[in-house]
Amino acid sequence: MSRVHPRAAGFWTDLRTVSLRSIRLTLRDPEAFGPALVIPVFFFVVNVGALQKFVEGNFPPGFDYKAFQLPVAVVFAVTGVSRANALVVDIQDGYLDRLLLTPVRRGTLLLGLMTADFLLITSLAVPVVLLGLILGIDVATGVLGIVVFVLLAGLWGLAFTGFPYAIALRTGNPTAVNNAFLLFFPFAFLTTAYLPQEAMTGWLATATKLNPTTYLLEGMRAILQTGWEWNSIGKALLAVGLMGTISFTVAFRSLAGRVNRN
């Protein structure tokens, strides 16, 4: 039997290896992301159908409620999508232990999952955007704007993945992970999802101003409706950065807690 010489493979090889496995398993698990696409499309169609005439009738001519709602549908499609349940299965099956017994860089175990998440999330955003285009939305920033719009959605979805991973790593419990979507409720509904900021009053107006999702939606709407309005797009990127910093911090701290062998 020939000899081999094991060694630490290095960060990039580890990341590539874990990412490829995650992508492969994502493709084998379509039922895990099918509902993530159906639900936002359903809400988009219902919201536009129910509110378009009412909202457009109360705003200056040219206000396109479909374009206003499309970012909401996309954000709904991409937020909370992750392979956190697959991580729970790895914990329960002992496969995470098998990986931890190798010299793999611990951080890549999470980053590899997130790489697959980013690809999945952007893939989920594309059909929702196509639906909007089919329904007649004009994109002020053109094709490049559509690409930036999808990437912005992808980065937002990626930024949010840290929360379900943190729950998966801390609890190892699939039910707890499934309930992680509840975290998104205040971010999703205490915002300008249904009405513009100027139509809000009282505590809801204050809550929407404090909610990073509001700035994300405004940035995405600017790309669709106004053009390269860098003030709004910059705020959207800051909102993504803020959310990512918080969620990645809790996720990687949870990973450290699980692998520090205590």
Partner: protein, 316 residues
């Protein structure tokens, strides 16, 4: 000969529970060391410490010459581990799991392809290697798990209850693989088991752990000889165990007795010569004997002698 595994005062607490309570052991290079004990004795916790999955709360341990606490990365490069439950991903194929293992150990594509071919010969999975693991039988999963532990040709192999739950055929196959790895490849093997016959058949030396402590250690023969050359086992009528022990207490040929319920185990130097005096003493004591057996000691008898309980009963 150098120690492939060495532990000094190894301990691990979980809250108020002391799972491992100061274990000292030294396993030499090229040895198969059987770590024998019932469920909950501390076997798996010891393995998790020695394989860097868990930090000890006391003591030190080194594996393949490196400290598991301060040099876990170097330890991981030199060990292979098959844990109690086959740690596999049911949605990957066997080949994908082995290839992924090889990548994480920095093996080149050529090395990975060659190792997968070699391991297929060793663990005999056949064409199933390209099927999803979720379709495998329990025995196939265990064999693939063993193959995954061997991809990088480790110096020290940890097998945590490798045959628990397997049918006799699969168990025999795993035993053959363990012997091959040790005898042909010179691999040091640390084998935990709750099966006495497994430790007896495979291990050069056996350590018995109970309640987190190593209570006996030696070759299987040494351990068995330590409790006498022959054993007479008397099964008596219900409730007469204590009376039976009292009846043989003064029989000179009986060196030691262990009573568990209605069974009395007597250590004697010459079993054939001791049966008659024992039978007469039991009869004279008014004990109703339902069975009288003469046999040589097993590791279970050693366990009974040391801990006062039967290992096989605990394992069941």
């Amino acid at each position: 000969m150098t120690a492939a595994i060495e532990a000094r005062g190894l301990a691990r607490r979980f809250g108020d529970t002391e799972a491992v309570a100061g274990v000292d052991l030294a396993v030499q290079s090229g040895e198969i060391y059987g770590f024998l004990g019932p469920n909950g004795a501390g076997k798996s916790t010891t393995v998790r410490i020695l394989t860097t999955l868990l930090k000890p709360t006391g003591g030190t341990a080194s594996v393949a010459g490196f400290d598991v606490g301060s040099d876990p990365e170097k330890v991981r490069l030199r060990i292979g581990v098959a844990l109690q439950e086959a740690a596999l991903d049911p949605k990957q194929s066997g080949r994908e799991v082995l290839d992924l293992q090889g990548r994480l150990y920095g093996l080149s594509k050529e090395e990975r392809l060659r190792r997968v071919d070699e391991l297929l010969t060793l663990v005999d999975i056949g064409d199933a290697i390209d099927r999803r693991i979720g379709t495998y039988s329990g025995g196939m999963k265990r064999r693939l798990d063993l193959a995954a532990a061997l991809v990088h040709q480790p110096e020290v192999l940890f097998l945590d209850e490798p045959t628990t739950g397997l049918d006799p055929t699969s168990r025999a196959a795993v035993w053959n693989e363990v012997r091959y790895l040790n005898q042909e490849l010179g691999m040091t093997i640390f084998l935990t088991t709750q099966y006495l016959e497994e430790a007896d058949a495979l291990a050069n030396r056996v350590g018995i752990i109970a309640h987190g402590k190593l209570v006996a250690e030696g070759t299987p023969d040494e351990l068995k000889r330590s409790i006498g050359s022959d054993l007479i086992i008397a099964t008596v009528a219900a409730g007469q165990g204590a009376a039976a022990a009292a009846a043989v207490a003064n029989v000179s040929v009986v060196e030691r007795t262990e009573q568990t319920g209605d069974e009395l185990v007597m250590s004697v130097a010459d079993g054939a010569a001791a049966v008659s005096p024992v039978a007469i003493a039991l009869s004279a004591g008014g004990v109703k004997v339902e069975g009288l057996t003469l046999r040589t000691p097993t590791l279970d008898d050693v366990f009974l002698h040391i801990t006062g309980g039967r290992l096989q009963e605990d394992a069941a």
